[in-house]
């Protein structure tokens, strides 16, 4: 599997993501600076990491979504490459309109940082095939703006089409319908607030995140 992690100014989980990919799949990940206009044409996986790109100025992910590299990410998504946005990366994907909806300030106002139990709502995506038979998985969240919002029609469509992939067992931030992660209609772009990159080996408290990267590698 050939993979890349995009680095924006203010990204702080880029190295975690690369470590997670490498430890989970054995494949090396390359770092790509946000100012690049081109990506290797044969990437199987592109990860937009967590952090505070551009200081979260204006809105989380809004400025990063206009970074030069994002045109190349969009082209790769059109080509069918797997794109994963984790935490701030999910916010960037929504701002770039690669995924529907938006992330609001947490309903409880607080930054929430803790382990969460997730229901795998759809184990038939290329990101979640490895979770088949698993009722719940554990990862951690760390966000102040992880409250997923979309209008009712969009939420109905997401649920109806199996685009809701992860759901919180206990909603930590007020997300609509407990949604923790969604895929696009085509199923090759995933955004999630919990961090698989902080749950890829038992020493981290959970190795459930590794399965996500392994699932992508298997489908590559």
């Amino acid at each position: 599997m050939k993979s890349a992690v995009i680095v924006f100014p203010g990204s702080n989980c880029d190295r975690d993501c690369a470590a997670a990919i490498e430890r989970s799949t054995g494949a090396k990940a390359q770092f790509v600076w946000h100012a690049e206009r081109e990506l290797d044409p044969d990437l199987d996986l592109i990860v937009l990491p967590g952090g505070f790109s551009y200081g979260d100025y204006l809105r989380c992910g809004a400025v990063a979504a206009l970074s030069p590299v994002m045109e190349a990410v969009k082209a790769a998504a059109r080509r069918g490459a797997a794109v994963v946005g984790i935490c701030n990366g999910f916010q960037v994907l929504c701002e770039a309109r690669l995924l529907p909806g938006a992330l609001l300030r947490n309903a409880g106002l607080k930054y929430v940082c803790k382990p969460v139990e997730l229901e795998v709502a759809n184990a038939q995506t290329r990101f979640t095939a490895g979770y088949a038979g698993r009722r719940t998985v554990q990862m951690t969240v760390g966000n102040g703006e992880g409250n997923f919002y979309a209008d009712e029609d969009t939420l109905d469509r997401l649920e109806g089409e199996g685009q809701v992939v992860f759901r919180y067992k206990e909603n930590p931030n007020g997300s609509a319908r407990g949604i923790a992660g969604i895929v696009n209609a085509r199923g090759n772009v995933l955004g999630l607030m919990p961090h698989p990159d902080r749950a890829f080996e038992a020493e981290l408290g959970s190795s459930d995140g590794a399965i996500l990267f392994q699932s992508v590698a298997k489908s590559a």
Partner: protein, 84 residues
Amino acid sequence: MAEGRLQATVEVFLKPGVLDVQGKAVEKALHGLGWPGVSDVRVGKTIRFALDPADPAGAEAEVRDMCERLLANTIIESYRVEIA
């Protein structure tokens, strides 16, 4: 101000119905200070900039385009443009 330069003011608020937790917190604090009559507090932002438009008549449309593409996220926010 230089000749032909306009001043643009953009106000951005979360749409009605979208939870504004900042507004809620401010409202609660105002109640605590002894203003129980305060309700529906919304906290938004104002963005101001000077603009030297190619076509002054099209300045507002230009600023609205900026709002659609960056200054507001129209999934959750509405905006108001003022050109002076």
